[in-house]
């Protein structure tokens, strides 16, 4: 197990390196000079500017600059935010838990909806329930999160006044009230994101289950008198989930897209809204670091998907 994990980690190193090359080349190709403002200031002689450029190595060849940047990133030195003057890693660490909390709860919600609905649809294909479920999944899949988010605010915050539409990270209450307030403010972002994920997940679960249910070993299980729910849950579901995990792993980058938008709509203080704020205030170190964190998260979740694979399919050995 640990050897498998180690090997997978080693495989993801080149991918991370590739992503860092892509990010760095975008930044290097981009116009703009970090000391451009100094050139406009008459009090600073040009020599000072050239010395600064030399000191920070801005005139070195691209490869040298890349290696230096990568080394700094690996040492945990991610630079300082131009706006707040705080270390970038501190900003990100502050906000990462919120993002992961919203994303994780949304995913749990999506699974809670998609698994039963997908399985029931596949058990009785083209029945009334199946038709309703597939239509809803199709419509939900075409509804962008930014529109559902606004609709939710309109209905639940403005017309009904049930839920707050701004996420606050500092809740001044203790015990039960604290939990309740977290649930109330998290309800809308988590539901919006969760429903969107559930829509596509339901489609995958349904089609994977349909394929498995037709196979001979399911007929055998039924023929030997196994209860239907045991046949479905113990024999069919496990095999049906294998392709579902693959598709979910491929979808992870898209999930982060939805997460950035949801965070922005509901002003959730996560790394997505940090990214947008940093772009609006041209805070390049933060923009670069957040993009890199997103890429690293994608790889991490892919790794997780690989591990789940092994749990579902005993033929895969972690040798």
């Amino acid at each position: 197990m640990s050897r498998f994990l180690l090997r997978r980690l080693l495989i993801s190193v080149p991918v991370l390196l590739g992503i860092s090359v892509v990010l760095f080349s975008i930044l290097a190709l981009a116009p703009g000079d970090p000391f451009g403002e100094l050139a406009l200031n008459p009090n600073i002689p040009p020599e000072v500017r050239f010395n600064l450029r030399k000191q920070f190595g801005l005139d070195d060849p691209l490869v040298v600059r890349y290696v230096r940047w990568l080394a700094a990133m690996l040492h945990g030195d991610w630079g300082y935010s131009f706006v707040s003057r705080l270390p970038v890693q501190q900003l990100i660490l502050q906000r990462l838990p919120t993002t992961l909390f919203v994303l994780g709860s949304a995913y749990v919600l999506a699974l809670l909806i998609a698994l039963p609905v997908g399985i029931l649809s596949a058990m009785k294909p083209y029945s009334f329930f199946d038709q309703v479920a597939t239509t809803f999944a199709f419509v939900g899949y075409s509804l962008p999160t930014f529109f559902t988010g606004l609709l939710f605010i309109l209905v639940f915050s403005i017309y009904l006044g049930w839920l707050p539409f701004i996420y606050s990270s500092t809740i001044e209450a203790g015990g039960f009230a604290w939990v309740l307030e977290h649930v109330r403010q998290g309800a809308m972002p988590i539901t919006v994101l969760g429903l969107f994920e559930a829509a596509s997940l339901t489609r995958f679960v349904r089609s994977a289950m349909l394929e498995v249910i037709q196979q001979d070993y399911i007929t055998t299980a039924r023929a030997k008198g196994l209860a239907e729910y045991r046949t479905i849950l113990k024999h069919a579901l496990r095999n049906a989930l294998i392709p579902v995990v693959t598709v979910v792993a491929l979808q992870i980058p898209a999930i982060f897209t939805g997460a950035v938008i949801t965070e922005q709509i509901f002003r959730v203080p996560g790394i997505g809204s940090l990214l947008i704020a940093a772009i609006e205030s041209t805070d390049t170190p933060v923009v670069m670091a957040v993009t890199f964190v997103y890429a690293a998260l994608v790889i991490l979740f892919n790794l997780l998907a690989d591990l789940i694979y092994g749990l579902l399919d005993p033929r895969i050995t972690y040798g």
């Binding site: 606004l150 605010i153 947008i276 957040v290």
Partner: protein, 317 residues
Amino acid sequence: MRTQSDKTMTAVRAAPYGATGLAATRPQSLWRNFWRRFCRHRLALVGMTILMVLTLSTLLGPLVYHHRINDIDFAVSLQGPSLAHPLGTDDLGQDLLARILYGGRVSMAVGLVAMLIAILIGTALGATAGYCGGWVDHVLMRLTDLFIALPPLPLLLLVVYLFRDTMRRLFNPELGIFLLIVLVIGGLRWMQPARLVRAAVLSLKEQEFVEAAVALGTPPLRMVLRHILPNALSPVIVAASLGVGSAILAESSLSFLGLGFPPDMPTWGRLLFDAKDHLDSAPHWALSPGTMIFLVVLSINYVGDGLRDALDARKVL
């Protein structure tokens, strides 16, 4: 695949007309057959109708509907739907129907052009990888894997943020931002078509008609363009139709985050971005562009679904 539908076609033609008593049956052409199968999917037909109506109204609407998109009139700001302004007005009193019609042109143009770019890059890379094989295939597929692992929205935001001003200076402001957005969206969406084309090319290049073409001395480029790619068309058509929808969504997300088109180019996403701070006083402002995005994407997805059914020769309809 063409080879299989050709077979069914010749089978239909070969059947003696008199024997079945259907002497009047017209021979089925490839396209007639395709259309017949497409029409079986009723929701795809509905989707196509909606799509055509919306496209025509964004193209022809401004000829009939004579409100300008930037007529500012504070006397009528934030009004709901009325006879003078069928979809209401925004905070500057600008007519929303005019802005939605104009925005539809931009949104759909972005969707189409971005999809074309994605398909072009994807087909070129996929065909090269599949046809050449060996280390070329290996390198190109690792590149594809790398791009699949990239989070699209953060990257889209990063590139637009860094290159926005340069593109505006290089071209005029509108064209610059249009080109930038279209290129970046297309440049981050070619991976799926590339994989589809590669898979199709891999199986096609082992077939006999390719061998025959090799024997006739067909040069590689001609072989790929004339013999292999036309047969790999169906998965690409399906991916392309769905690609338009996802490109429109990507543009809307970008504009919704305030980083896409400027306010004088009101795409549907941009309208939502402007409307989101007035949800309590003017909900109509957000509802109409949002509904348009939803309708267009839903219709495109249904059309794509119908195309998949119609083009999949394994499915008997």
